[in-house]
C-alpha cells in the first residue's frame, strides 16, 4: 500500500444483554465522545473530521436508512456520512479506501447494534434470505450455521468436546475483558448440557445476544502521526464474497475465507502466516467456527486438532473472549479490529500481549460464512 493509513484511536462500549437505558443514538454518543477526546479532533471543515462511516442494519434498527436519523450523534451533520450495511469491519476498508484515494485525511467510524430491540435475532437473519427459494424452508443464520457445523464435523471430525473446549476457554478469557457481558465460568459439561438449537449447535456454542457500539479514527500517515504517538498501520486487507445461494457452495470448504486471507497476506507481504501474528482475533459466532476460520486463515492446517494441540493459546487467538463473549453480529469483525488495535497500542490491560507488533482481525457476515474480511494491523 503506497500511502499508509493508521488507526489513531479506538473506543468500545460495554457489551450487554440489553442496554435498556439507552437508545442506539445514545450508544453512538458513548463512542463519539472518547474518540474526540483521545485525538483532540473536531469537525472543522479544514482540519477536522469530514467523513463518518457508520455501521448499522436497517432490520435490527427497525428503520429504513437508519443512519439518516442519527447523523447528529455520528458527527455527520452538514458533513459526509456513509453507511456500511455489511459486517462492520468493512467500514475500516471503506475508510481506508477514502483516505488512500486522497479524498479524506481523517475518517471516523462508528458502528452500533441493539440486538435486544427485536424480539428474535433469528427473525432478522431470516430476512437475509430470498422469499422464494430459501425463506420458505425456514433458513436463518442459526440454521445455516447448523448446516455448516455438521458439514465441518463430517469433513474434519470436529467433536462436541472440542467445541465445548472453545466455549470454556472463551469464558476464561472474557473474564479478563471488562467490556464483555457478565459471563460466569462454565465447564465443558455445562456446554454439552445446554439446550440444542440447531444440531450440533447448542445455546452455549452461540454468541450471546448483545447491545453495543464501537468506533475508531483512521488517518493518513501524515495526519496520524500528528494525532497520536503510535498509530496502528493497516498493512493488509482482503475480502471475498461467496455465492448467496447456499446450494452453490461447499460450506465446509472455507473457500471465501481462504481467498480473503491470501489477498491480505499478499498485501502485507506475509509469505507464511504461521507464527506471523502476535495477536489474532477471529469472529467465532459459533464455537465450531473458531477452528474452522483458523483453518481457513491457513493457521490451523490440520483442522480441529489445532485445538487439542493448544493452538488457541499458542497463537494468542481471541484473548478478548471473541464473539462468544458477546458482540452484536453486525459488529463482530469491527470489534475484532478494535481489539487487535488495542493490543498493538498496548492498552489491552489484563489481556495484553507484551510487545505485540502485528495482529490479524477477521470479520464474517452472511449465512454460513458467505463473506469474509481479513485485516492485518502493525505498529512501528
Amino acid at each position: 500500500m503506497s500511502r499508509r493509513v493508521g488507526i489513531c484511536a479506538v473506543a468500545q462500549s460495554t457489551y450487554e444483554r440489553e442496554k435498556w437505558y439507552e437508545r442506539f443514538q445514545g450508544m453512538c454518543l458513548e463512542i463519539l465522545e472518547p474518540l474526540l477526546e483521545q485525538t483532540g479532533l473536531d469537525f472543522a471543515e479544514d482540519t477536522g473530521i469530514n467523513m463518518t462511516v457508520s455501521v448499522s442494519d436497517d432490520v435490527f434498527d427497525a428503520r429504513t436508512i437508519s443512519d439518516n436519523g442519527m447523523t447528529d450523534v455520528l458527527g455527520g451533520h452538514l458533513r459526509c456520512e456513509e453507511k456500511i450495511a455489511q459486517e462492520g469491519i468493512q467500514a475500516v476498508y471503506y475508510g481506508l479506501a477514502a483516505i488512500l484515494s486522497g479524498h479524506q485525511d481523517v475518517v471516523l467510524i462508528i458502528g452500533h447494534c441493539k440486538e435486544s430491540q427485536g424480539e428474535s435475532r433469528n427473525q432478522a437473519t431470516h430476512l437475509a434470505f430470498d422469499p422464494f427459494y430459501t425463506r420458505p424452508v425456514g433458513l436463518d443464520f442459526l440454521a445455516a450455521a447448523g448446516l455448516q457445523a455438521r458439514a465441518y464435523q463430517k469433513a474434519k471430525g470436529l467433536t462436541d468436546d472440542q467445541m465445548a473446549q472453545v466455549v470454556v476457554r472463551c469464558r476464561e478469557k472474557a473474564a479478563k475483558n471488562p467490556l464483555t457481558q457478565d459471563l460466569a465460568p462454565i465447564t465443558a459439561q455445562d456446554v454439552k448440557n445446554s439446550p440444542l438449537l440447531a444440531d450440533p449447535i447448542r445455546q452455549l456454542h452461540t454468541y450471546p445476544i448483545s447491545d453495543g457500539s464501537v468506533g475508531m479514527i483512521l488517518a493518513s500517515e501524515e495526519r496520524a502521526k500528528k494525532i497520536c504517538k503510535n498509530p496502528i498501520w493497516i498493512t493488509g486487507v482482503g475480502n471475498c464474497m461467496d455465492s448467496f445461494f447456499m446450494g452453490d457452495r461447499d460450506i465446509a470448504s472455507n473457500f471465501a475465507l481462504k481467498k480473503a486471507a491470501q489477498k491480505a497476506y499478499k498485501r502485507a507481504g506475509i509469505d507464511n502466516p504461521n507464527g506471523a501474528f502476535d495477536v489474532i482475533e477471529v469472529s467465532d459466532q459459533y464455537a465450531y467456527q473458531q477452528p474452522m476460520w483458523m483453518e481457513g486463515l491457513g493457521l490451523a492446517d490440520s483442522g480441529p486438532d489445532w485445538l487439542d494441540r493448544g493452538g488457541p493459546d499458542k497463537d494468542r487467538v481471541n484473548l478478548s473472549g471473541g464473539m462468544l463473549a458477546g458482540n452484536p453480529l453486525l459488529l463482530g469483525g469491527l470489534v475484532r479490529a478494535a481489539e487487535a488495535a488495542t493490543q498493538l497500542m498496548g492498552q489491552a490491560g489484563e489481556r495484553q500481549v507484551d510487545g505485540a507488533k502485528r495482529a490479524l482481525a477477521h470479520g464474517v457476515m452472511g449465512p454460513a460464512g458467505q463473506f469474509h474480511s481479513v485485516l492485518i494491523l502493525e505498529r512501528d
Binding site: K19, W20, Y21, E22, R23, Q25, G26, L29, L32, E33, L36, D42, F43, V59, A62, T71, D72, V73, G75, H77, L78, K114, S116, Q117, G118, E119, S120, Q123, A124, L127, P131, F132, R135
Partner: protein, 1005 residues
C-alpha cells in the same frame, strides 16, 4: 417596393404614433423602426446575409415583430415557428429549411435542448428572455445599445421575405415561400376590402407564427394603425382590453367568437369603439354569426385564404352585401376561379375547385418543385377546396377535397395522426376524421383497429406524447371486430367513417343487448327496498329498431312487466339505442332528459323513484358478477388441506352492504363447512361486501383493510392470520359462452336430480320457438330421464320462445311470470309441469374457456414482522415524561445555547451533549404552517386518514429564533391560522409520556 421600404415609408409618415401597445410597453413607429434597425445591424454583424433563413420561435411580443422586420430588412428570410409544435416537429422544420439562425424565447429552450444535437445546420442562436444562456446571444443585449443606423432593405420584390411551414395533404409540413411582393399585394387587397381608415386600433391576439396575425400587423402599417398586441387570446381580459384601448376591430377564428358569446363579463365595459370583426381560418356557423352580430351590434366579416396565397384571398365586403355562409368576393388584385377537373371555369352555382390567381400566390414550396408544380397550375393556386360562386360572384365552400380538419382555426392533417397511431405496437390501423363541433368548428376523431388490447387512455397518452396538443383526438373509437368502410381497392372511406359518429361501436362479438332483454329481466332484478310503497304504472315507448312498448307495473312491492301501454301514470319515450345506453349506464338518464333525447309525460316525480327499482342489468354474455355468495359458495371446493390441517375453529363473517350476509366457516379435522348465519364463531370479521370481494380477488390487501379500519375483527385474531392459507385462490366465474336451447336440453340428462324425478312417469313436450328453437321431449320413467328430439306423446307441452326459455333456465325470468304474462303457454296436464321444476340440478352455462394462467409469474405475499421494543434513552425519556405533567422541556446546548425541541441527545452543530434543561411554553406563537391534503381513502392502498393535516412550527414562550416545536395544528383552525397567532397545546386526557400527549395545538382565541 419591398417590405423594408414599406416600413420606412410608414415610419416617416406616422413616426410618433403608436405602432404597438403591448401591456405596459407603448412603442411608436419611430421606436419600432429604431429597434428593427438595431437588430438588423446586429444580425449583419453576426454574419447573417441576404437569403439566410432565420427562424423565430417567440410568442407574440414586440420582439417577434422586430425580429421579422429586421430579418427581412437585411434581405434574409424570416421563418416563424409554430409555438405549439413539439420537439420532433421543430427538428423536422430546422432540418428541412436548413436555417442558419434561430431567435428563440426562453420558454422554448426545452425543445431546443431535445433537438440541438440533431440540427446540424443551425449555427447561431439568439435568446429572448431575462437570463439568456451564456452560449446564446442575448436578444436584449443586441437591441439595448446597438448601432441604429438605418438599414435600407435592398431586396427585390420577388425575393423571399418569409418561409411559413404549413402541413400539406401528404402529411409532412412544407415551407411556403412568400415574397415581398406576395405580402404587399395581400396587404393592399385587405386594406382596400376592409376600407380601413387611418389611425384605427386593431387587437391582435392570434399567434404571429401564422400568416393571419403576421399580415394584420403588416397591413396595419400602411394606414398608421395602432396594434394592441397580446400574448394569446384570453377571454377574461378581452372586453377590458377592447375598452381600455378603444379597439376598432380584430381578426379572430370562429372558436374565439363562440367563447366571447358565452362571456357575461362584457356588460361592464364600453365597447362603443368596435366597428367590425374579421373571421377566418374556418367556417363560422350562421347561428354564431347572427347571435354575435345581434349581441354586439357589429358585423363579422368572413374571409378565406391559405398560406400558399399569403393569407387572405376572399372576404365579405365590410360595406355592401355580406352573405352569411359565404367566404365573400375575391380581394382586389386577386382572381378567384372555380375550375372543374379539366381546368375549365365552372358556371355559377356549379361546384369546382377554388383556385386563386394574382400577386399573392406563393413563390412555391421550399425545395419541393413537384409539390409546387402540383399546387400552382398556370399561375393559379389549386386550393383543394371545393366551392361555387353564386350569381353575384360570392363564393361558398362546399367541401374539402383534402380531408384536412380545421380545429379552432388550426389545420390538422388526418394522415399525420393516422401515421402516428399506426406506429403504436398495439394498433393495426387508424383512421382520423374531423367531426363537427360547436366550439371548435371541428374536433378530431380517430377510429382504431387494435392489434392488441388497447385502451382509450393508452391511445390518448400516446397522442399527447407524439402530437401537438391541438392535434390530440377528442374522440377515440376502438373497433372490436369491425373494419373501416373501404373502397374496392381498400382505401379507407373517411366520408363514410364520419357518419359512424363519436359513440362506441356496437360489438358483434360482445353481448347483444336488446330492449326486450332489458324488460324481460326486470322482474328478476327487482330491488325490494326500491319498490317498497310504490303503486304506479310506468309506460315506456321505446322507438327505433328493436323498440316497442312496455308497462312496468309496480304494486305492493311486486313488479310486473307487461307488453304494451297499460294506464301508465308516467310515460317515457326514448330511442332503443339510448335506452340500452342508459340501462348500461353509458348514458346518464338525466343528461338524456335535459338534452331532449328522453321525453317524459305524466308524473315526473314517479320516474325519479324508478331509478332504484332494479338491480343493475347484466348484459347476457358479460362475465357474471362476482358475488359474496359465490365466494362463500365455492369455499368448500377450494379448501387447501395443508392450510386447514390442525385447525379447529369457527370463523364468522358479517358481510355488510348490498350482496352481503352472514356466514360461518367451520374448520375441524381438516374439513371445512360453510354455513349461513353466525354459529359460535371464535373470531368474527366484519367487512363490506365490496371490500370482501376486493380482498378475495386480491385487489385489496386484507391487512391494509384491517389497519385502515375497513375490516374489523372481534375475537381471536391469531386464528385469522392462519385463515389466509385455508383456501386456494378464488376464481371469478368465467364469462359464459352463448347459452343455446340445444345445450340446455343436451345437458339435462346429466343434471337429473334423482329426488325430483322419483315416482314420475310422463313425457314433457317442449316447443321452443324462434331462432335456436326446436322441439324436444323429456321422457321421465322410473327415475330415468331421456331427452328426445321432437314431440313424442307429451302429457304436457310447453310453448315458449327460445329467448325466454334460456332466460327461465338461467333464472333470469321467472317461469310463472312468463306463464301469467302469456309468454309461456302450456297445453295438457299443468300439474305435471310444476313438478318438473325439481327434476334438474341447476344449469351451468358453458364457460368461454379460461385464459391460460401465466405460470411463470408468481407473487408471494408475506408479512415481514419482528416484534420490537424501542428505548427512549434518558434525554427523550425526560422530555416525554414531562409531558405527563403538562410540562414542555427543552434541552439546551452548553456551547451555543440553542434550545432543542423535542429534546435530543446532542446539539448537531456543536457535537456536544445538550444536557441543560429549561421549561418552556406551553403557550406559544405560530411561525410556520404546512398543510397537506391527503387523498383519503388513498386510491392506491385504500388507507383512510384524517385530512387535511396541518403541521406547524410553534415558538413556545421562552424560546427564540428557530427553537420551535414541530407539532400538529387543529385542522379546524387551518382556515384562520396565520403566522404570529397565539396557540396553546390541547393535552390528551390520558397522558402516557408520548409525543401524542399533546393532541395538537390550537389558536388561543
Amino acid at each position: 417596393m419591398n417590405l423594408g421600404n414599406y416600413l420606412d415609408q410608414a415610419v416617416k409618415k406616422y413616426g410618433d404614433k403608436y405602432y404597438l401597445r403591448y401591456f405596459d410597453e407603448d412603442i411608436t413607429y419611430n421606436e419600432f423602426s429604431n429597434r428593427v434597425n438595431i437588430l438588423a445591424n446586429a444580425l449583419l454583424k453576426m454574419g447573417f446575409k441576404k437569403g439566410d433563413f432565420i427562424h423565430v420561435l417567440v410568442q407574440n411580443s414586440p420582439e417577434t415583430l422586430v425580429a421579422y422586420f429586421a430579418i427581412i430588412k437585411i434581405g434574409a428570410v424570416a421563418g416563424p415557428i409554430n409555438g405549439w409544435w413539439q420537439a420532433a416537429e421543430v427538428q423536422y422544420l430546422l432540418n428541412d429549411s436548413q436555417g442558419r439562425g434561430l431567435i428563440i424565447e426562453d420558454q422554448y429552450l426545452g425543445i431546443l435542448d431535445k433537438i440541438k444535437n440533431n440540427v446540424p445546420h443551425l449555427e447561431k442562436i439568439i435568446e429572448v428572455g431575462q437570463n439568456p444562456r451564456a452560449e446564446h446571444t442575448s436578444f436584449a443585449e443586441l437591441t439595448a445599445q446597438g448601432d441604429n443606423t438605418p438599414v435600407v432593405c435592398e431586396a427585390d420584390p420577388d425575393d423571399t421575405a418569409y418561409i411559413f411551414y404549413t402541413s400539406g395533404t401528404t402529411g409532412n409540413p412544407k415551407g411556403v415561400l412568400l415574397s415581398h411582393k406576395n405580402v404587399l399585394a395581400d396587404v393592399d387587397g385587405v386594406n382596400r376590402a376592409l376600407e380601413t381608415d387611418e389611425g384605427m386600433t386593431i387587437l391582435i391576439f392570434l399567434p404571429l407564427f401564422h400568416v393571419n396575425a403576421m399580415l394584420s400587423c403588416t397591413s396595419s402599417i400602411q394606414n398608421g394603425h395602432t396594434i394592441v398586441l397580446r400574448r394569446a387570446f384570453s377571454a377574461s381580459e378581452f372586453w377590458e382590453v377592447v375598452d381600455r384601448y378603444k379597439v376598432n376591430f380584430w381578426s379572430a377564428v370562429p372558436a374565439v367568437y363562440q367563447i366571447l358569446l358565452k362571456d357575461p363579463g362584457r356588460q361592464q365595459y364600453d365597447l362603443s369603439s368596435l366597428q367590425f370583426g374579421v373571421c377566418g381560418a374556418a367556417p363560422l356557423t350562421r347561428e354564431t354569426m347572427e347571435e354575435f352580430e345581434k349581441t354586439f351590434n357589429i358585423p363579422i366579416v368572413e374571409g378565406y385564404g391559405l398560406t400558399e396565397a399569403t393569407c387572405v384571398s376572399t372576404i365579405n365586403p365590410r360595406s355592401g352585401t355580406r352573405k352569411v355562409g359565404s367566404i365573400g368576393l375575391a380581394l382586389p388584385g386577386q382572381e378567384v376561379k372555380i375550375l372543374d377537373e379539366q381546368g375549365n371555369e365552372c358556371p355559377p352555382m356549379i361546384p369546382g375547385e377554388i383556385c386563386i390567381g394574382g400577386a399573392v400566390v406563393m413563390k412555391g414550396y421550399f425545395n419541393r418543385p413537384e409539390a409546387t408544380a402540383e399546387a400552382i397550375v398556370d399561375g393559379f393556386l389549386h386550393t383543394g377546396d371545393v366551392g361555387y360562386k353564386d350569381e353575384d360572384g360570392y363564393i361558398f365552400i362546399v367541401d374539402r377535397i383534402k380531408d384536412m380538419i380545421i380545429r379552432g382555426g388550426e389545420n390538422i392533417y388526418p394522415k399525420e395522426i393516422d401515421n402516428v397511431l399506426a406506429s403504436h405496437p398495439k394498433i393495426a390501423e387508424a383512421a382520423t376524421v374531423g367531426v363537427p363541433d360547436k366550439t371548435m368548428g371541428e374536433e378530431v376523431q380517430v377510429f382504431v383497429i387494435p392489434a392488441d388490447d388497447i385502451t382509450e387512455e393508452e391511445i390518448l397518452a400516446y397522442c399527447k406524447e407524439k402530437l401537438a396538443a391541438f392535434k390530440v383526438p377528442k374522440y377515440i373509437t376502438i373497433l372490436e371486430d369491425e373494419d373501416f368502410p373501404r373502397s374496392p381497392v381498400g382505401k379507407v372511406l373517411k366520408k363514410d367513417l364520419r357518419k359512424w359518429g363519436t359513440g362506441p361501436r356496437a360489438s358483434k362479438k360482445g353481448p347483444q343487448v336488446s330492449v326486450e332483454d332489458i324488460f324481460g329481466t326486470m322482474e328478476s332484478r327487482v330491488n325490494p327496498d326500491g319498490v317498497a310503497g310504490i303503486t304506479a304504472n310506468y309506460g315506456y315507448i321505446i322507438t327505433g329498431e328493436g323498440g316497442g312498448e312496455w308497462t312496468v307495473s309496480v304494486k305492493d312491492g311486486k313488479v310486473k312487466v307487461l307488453s304494451g301501454l297499460h294506464e301508465p301514470n308516467v310515460t317515457t319515450t326514448v330511442s332503443a339505442k339510448d335506452w340500452i345506453a342508459i340501462t348500461l349506464k353509458k348514458l346518464d338518464g338525466m343528461t338524456a332528459f335535459t338534452s331532449g333525447r328522453l321525453k317524459v309525460e305524466g308524473d315526473m316525480g314517479l320516474l325519479t323513484k324508478a331509478t332504484v327499482f332494479f338491480k343493475p342489468y347484466q348484459p347476457p354474455a358479460a362475465a357474471p358478477e362476482v358475488t359474496v355468495e359465490d365466494i362463500f359458495g365455492t369455499m368448500e371446493g377450494r379448501v387447501n388441506p395443508d392450510g386447514v390441517a390442525g385447525i379447529t375453529a369457527n370463523y364468522g363473517y358479517i358481510i355488510t352492504g348490498t350482496g352481503g350476509g352472514e356466514w360461518t366457516v367451520s374448520v375441524k379435522d381438516g374439513v371445512v363447512k360453510v354455513l349461513s348465519g353466525l354459529h359460535e364463531p371464535n373470531v368474527t370479521t366484519t367487512v363490506s361486501a365490496k371490500d370482501w370481494i376486493a380482498i378475495t380477488l386480491k385487489k385489496l390487501d386484507g391487512m391494509t383493510a384491517f389497519t385502515s379500519g375497513r375490516l374489523k375483527v372481534e375475537g381471536d385474531m391469531g386464528l385469522l392470520t392462519k385463515a389466509t392459507g385455508f383456501f386456494k385462490p378464488y376464481k371469478p366465474p368465467a364469462p359464459v359462452k352463448e347459452v343455446t336451447v340445444d345445450d340446455i336440453f343436451g345437458t339435462m340428462e346429466s343434471r337429473v336430480n334423482p329426488e325430483g324425478v322419483k315416482g314420475i312417469t310422463a313425457n314433457y313436450g317442449y316447443a321452443i320457438t324462434g331462432t335456436g328453437g326446436g322441439e324436444w321431449t323429456v321422457s321421465v320413467k322410473d327415475g330415468v330421464v331421456k331427452v328426445l328430439k321432437g314431440l313424442h306423446d307429451p302429457a304436457v307441452t310447453t310453448t315458449v320462445s327460445a329467448k325466454d326459455w334460456i332466460a327461465i333456465t338461467l333464472g333470469k325470468l321467472d317461469g310463472m311470470t312468463a306463464f301469467t304474462s302469456g309468454r309461456l303457454k302450456v297445453e295438457g296436464d299443468m300439474g305435471l309441469l310444476t313438478k318438473a321444476t325439481k327434476f334438474f340440478k341447476k344449469y351451468q352455462p358453458p364457460t368461454a374457456g379460461q385464459a391460460e394462467e401465466q405460470e411463470e409469474l408468481l407473487v408471494k405475499k408475506q408479512v415481514l414482522s419482528i416484534n420490537q421494543k424501542f428505548s427512549s434513552g434518558p434525554i427523550m425519556g425526560k422530555f416525554l415524561n414531562a409531558l405527563k405533567e403538562k410540562k414542555i422541556l427543552a434541552n439546551k446546548c452548553p456551547s451555543c445555547g440553542r434550545l432543542q425541541l423535542p429534546a435530543r441527545e446532542v446539539c448537531a452543530e456543536c457535537r456536544v451533549r445538550a444536557d441543560q434543561w429549561v421549561e418552556v411554553g406551553p403557550l406559544g406563537v405560530l411561525t410556520i404552517l404546512d398543510v397537506a391534503y391527503y387523498a383519503s381513502p388513498d386510491p392506491l392502498t385504500g388507507d383512510v386518514r384524517e385530512t387535511p393535516y396541518c403541521a406547524c412550527h410553534v415558538l413556545l414562550d421562552g424560546c427564540k429564533g428557530h427553537e420551535t416545536l414541530w407539532h400538529e395544528l387543529n385542522p379546524d383552525d387551518i382556515g384562520r391560522a396565520k403566522r404570529g397567532m397565539r396557540v396553546k397545546p390541547v393535552w390528551n386526557p390520558k397522558r402516557i409520556g408520548a409525543i401524542t400527549d399533546i393532541l395538537y395545538f390550537e389558536l388561543t382565541e
